[in-house]
Amino acid sequence: MIINILILIIPLIASIFYKKIKTSSIIVSIIEMFLLILLYFSKTYNGFFFVDNISFIFILMVDSIYLLSLLYSKKYVHSIKNKGISENFYYLLMNFFYVSMVFALMVNNYGFMWVGIETTTISSALLLITEKSDTSLEATWRYIIIVSAGVTFAFISVILIYYSFHTLTVTAIIYSKAKDTIAVRLAVGIALVGFGTKVGVFPMHTWLPDAHSEAPAPVSAMFSGVLLPVALYVLYRIYEIFPMRELFVWAGTVSVLFAALFLGYQKNYKRMFAYSTMENMNIALIGLSTFTYIGLIGALLLLLSHSFGKAGAFYSSGNIYKMSDTKDINSIKGLINNKMSSASLLLSSFAVTGTPPYGTFFGEFLILYSVFSIHFYAQFIIIVLSLFLAFVSINFNVSKMIFKGKSDYSENNVNTLIPLIAAIISIAVGVIFLVVYNEIL
């Protein structure tokens, strides 16, 4: 309990040192990693907080990407010319953003989970205008209005859960006897639409490419790598009350299909990676929705590996944008001359498209296996075709940016190490999984 409170309070304490907030935030994020180790040995299954193995993996993701994003932000945010918010305010919001996500993951109450998710919108909205432009303002607006309207809808689900169980305590509900009533079914179905807006479920995904493409690279990494998984976690906790397998798997399948189709005609590399996030989140949703052990392991593995891979992809995108001043895929040529940038971009694009031996590959494999094992053959075929389409679209565009033509971009003013580290961790997740859990395969 004390560790849970410390994890939530320490980043807020860092914000007190406002003038030195850049340094204090990085120190705090390192302390949080140590606290995470302690949390692993003192998981809480009752009371105000609820941290089991599933939520622990999500907290691990959030902590890691938070640390990497802060380190990457140091150079990136400092060099932004037209800032919409001050540098110190940026770090303050990052800390609040982190705390709201961890709060949503640790709290043992559906009502407070909703509050946590809504708070992530509040704390992250203004981060989108760090690189201020007319387009980023419009993207911010779309993000707030669409996500808020969607998450508001999810509150009906919270009301109905309370109506059905007379409590909102997660453990009391999921460990109680399953209830099959119209109200419970409605609560779970509405959660899919409400929280699904934040997860990127079709057709409520429209904010996603706008926000990801206009946010500064470290914020895009936080959005893609951890914000969407946090919303997915909350959705999963509601899904556990009454698993509506058919509905959820179909919703995920249709979303994956549309994400793959959208990927086919993208001209902006940041939007391309945003649609890739939509695809990966919905694959994870399908894995969780199969409600099998293999599906769950696959989804967690996919999310963990994807968080690092996608963070690497967005950091690389940030570097390319700094070097070239364009987000247009066709305008980027000959990145091969910039060894570090091209390596990190290529490795992270392999990571997000599920290439072996990345964790995403094993995750997708396990999810497909579990879909097949529950006899959802039509969905299985659609998912396989969509994955193939997404793989070709992304890697074709990335290869074009790297290998076609010549360029004279300079890597002097960008951080090339963090994207590479993130992409390598994504491989490590897959390799470690292969060694440790090989009996599953």
Binding site: V115, E118, I145, F155, I156, I159, L160, Y163, H166, L186
Partner: protein, 213 residues
């Protein structure tokens, strides 16, 4: 139904009517004021239910609605509305046409949502369950307002209307614990502040080529 329940029913119907008034209005300031009035009516419903059921949480909820929605939210919105006349009055807006579309949209939505699902939900705090139609109607009204308007403030009002419908829905089905309700209120208040900040920079929203596809 005794007389007080009948009054609650009528006031709730009036709340839904206020939603239509906002939709059919071209004057931004008047729309914001109507939102304040709508929130006041919700607070009155909450007080009356508290009185009938002798439940103090309804009174706390009513007070929270008055402080946060009627005063603070309305104050922020009124103060952040740009002062130029072209912004305050949406002259090119076809409100009659929008109202007709709105009615069609709401009738279809309500028919689908209520008849296949909410009809099975029995209210705990009110003797007649069909009162749930009004919060649902207000919810879809809010959604339509967001979708149909280009002005930032008008879209914010749509969002607040959605939030109001949830308070009403909760009040009639079964109010969630007040601590959670308070957190929700605070969240919405901060969101309105952020909305207001952005509305200064971007008062109107149009399609953008960069955000296509």
């Amino acid at each position: 139904m005794n007389i007080i329940y009948t009054i609650i029913y009528l006031v709730t119907a009036l709340i839904a009517v206020s939603g239509f008034y906002i939709q059919g209005n071209k004057y931004i300031r008047s729309m914001a004021m109507t939102q304040g009035f709508q929130s006041l009516l919700i607070a009155i419903v909450s007080f009356m239910l508290g009185f009938v059921l002798k439940e103090y949480t309804f009174f706390i909820l009513g007070v929270l609605v008055i402080i946060l929605r009627v005063f603070l939210v309305t104050y922020f919105l009124i103060n952040k509305i740009p002062k130029n006349k072209s912004y305050l009055y949406e002259s090119k807006l076809g409100t009659t046409y929008l109202l007709i579309i709105d009615l069609i949209f709401i009738i279809i939505s309500i028919f689908i949502v209520y008849s296949i699902s909410f009809v099975y939900i029995k209210t705990v705090t009110f003797p007649v369950s069909n009162i749930l139609l009004f919060p649902l109607l207000l919810f879809f009204q809010g959604l339509f307002l967001i979708a149909s308007r280009r002005r930032t403030i008008a879209q914010v009002l749509g969002y607040i209307e959605e939030e109001n419908s949830l308070i009403l829905l909760g009040v009639f089905i079964l109010p969630v614990p007040i601590i959670i309700e308070s957190s929700v209120f605070l969240d919405v208040l901060i969101l309105v502040v952020i909305f207001s900040v952005i509305s200064i920079e971007k008062p109107v929203h149009e399609k953008m080529e960069e955000l296509r596809g």
